[in-house]
Amino acid sequence: MAEASYPEELLYHADHDWARVDGEVATFGITWFAQDALGEVVFFDPPEVGTSVTAGEFYAEVESVKAVSDVIAPLSGEIVEVNTGLADTPEAINEAPYDGGWMIKVKLSDPGEADGLLDRDTYVGGLQ
């Protein structure tokens, strides 16, 4: 998407990742800023369902034409689903970073960790 956007209802990690928390499951992805900095994403290497992710540590790699980048987990837990559609259409990460470009769903091990994430305005303020 050409225009920067940062949905109000998401929580943000300063490394340009977002989490959509729904009860004890959260969906993760990268922000508009992150996909814009990467340029055209051409490959997403998903982790395996059932593996654990730790807040602040990387769980996947995303590749643009020019570079590879780590994707950081904003919260800890066990992966319950990965976006397999990204194998065929990694460009969804650019085109719809908060919708079709989601990366994994995680069953949270410590939902209280969400208190440490940033709200939209704080995250966007940090981009200036």
């Binding site: 055209e40 490959f43 194998a87």
Partner: protein
């Protein structure tokens, strides 16, 4: 990145107006891509025409009665084979046969040659030439500030430039002076994309008007990222990745550009390597599965990737790798350590992509 320390080409304003993303490259602030992105730019060059600002590349003029003998001593190729108006690819080697730079040289007049250098090597190249000029009746002029360089590349690039030129364009691997949009230009039938096209060497002050007219006529501005994916599909070497002083021309598959009988600096080492056979050879490869290998990734059993990217034309990972000579044969499969994951590469014929072979 402090842009004040970076040099800007005369086309900087054009890039900014076109929505370029600018990056530091070899001391220059250059467009890596424009608003539509590297994929669209790459495909525009393959399908129609793109225009690149390559003014960061250096130029050196060598002139005088000793120019031919001097370049014959410095360049790996046979300079005496150059007719007036011809272009020649050559290497600049050190005494050990290591590659200092790879060069395109144009013979402008009987005693006058213009050589295009890589931006990152330009100052060292000029110093190297000057340090080896004793005994030759030549004048060596660092001409980097005298020229802007535009590359117009793609199947309709010639047609597009022909429409704004005052005479027939020079054939491939030749160069001629001409007038383009009312400005003097050295028009060269060369490029770095695997497509037909021309490169225009012009006064930096004239470059923006040429750029704007060529873009207005349909060439898509293309940045360094597309230049890299295009050259890699075509299997052209990139100095600093595929070429260095650590490896020689024979390993790099550039023996064709070395004529050891001319006694160029480094020729003894190159001859010895050619006769003995190199331990490693540079080969083009494709990945057989998902992923992208990058420069620096190691090959299981020996060797390394020196260039790697995602091919916008093929939609897969491609690259150039040095492999042990015994494995450097078409069809050979090998394992690359891509950040801890094993990815399989297969040696392919070069170029990795052409419209003729891949539709």
């Amino acid at each position: 990145m402090t842009s004040r320390t970076l040099k800007r080409t005369s086309l900087f304003g054009c890039h900014r107006d076109a929505g370029a993303r600018l990056v530091a490259f070899a001391g220059w602030e250059m467009p890596v891509q424009y608003a539509d992105g590297v994929g669209a730019e790459h495909l525009a060059v393959r399908g129609a025409a793109g225009i690149f600002d390559v003014s960061h590349m250096g130029e050196v003029e060598v002139s005088g009665p000793g120019a031919e003998a001097f370049l014959q001593r410095l360049h790996s190729n046979d300079v005496t084979r150059m007719s007036i108006g011809s272009a020649q690819y050559s290497l600049l080697c050190d005494e050990h046969g290591g590659v200092l730079d790879d060069l395109f040289t144009y013979r402008l007049a009987p005693d006058r040659y213009l050589t295009v250098t890589n931006a990152s090597n330009h100052d060292a190249d000029v110093a190297w030439l000057r340090a080896h000029a004793d005994g030759f009746d030549v004048e060596i002029t660092d001409a980097i500030d005298s020229y802007a360089m535009l590359a117009v590349q793609g199947p309709i690039a010639r047609e597009l430039v022909q429409a704004i030129a005052d005479g027939p364009l020079p054939a491939r691997m030749t160069a001629a002076k001409g007038i383009v949009v009312g400005r003097e230009a050295l028009i060269c039938g060369t490029g770095y994309t695997g497509e037909d096209g021309v490169e225009l060497l012009v006064d930096p002050d004239d470059a923006p008007a040429l750029w704007e007219e060529i873009v207005r006529r349909g060439a898509v501005p293309a940045g360094l990222a597309a230049r890299d994916t295009l050259r890699l599909e075509a299997c052209f070497h990139l100095y600093g990745n595929d070429l260095s002083t650590e490896r020689g021309p024979i390993e790099a598959g550039l023996g064709w550009a070395c004529k050891e009988d001319t006694d160029f600096i480094g020729s003894a080492a190159v001859r010895a390597m050619r006769e003995a056979g190199p331990a490693e050879k540079l080969v083009p490869f494709k990945l057989t599965g998902p992923g992208i290998a990058r420069a620096g990734n190691l090959v299981a059993g020996g060797g390394e990737v020196t260039s790697g990217t995602h091919s916008p034309s093929l939609g897969i990972g491609i690259g150039l790798a040095y492999l042990p000579a015994a494995r450097a044969t078409e069809g050979e499969r090998f394992e690359i350590d891509v950040r801890g994951k094993a990815r399989e590469g297969v040696v392919v014929r070069k170029p990795i992509y052409t419209k003729e072979t891949d539709g």
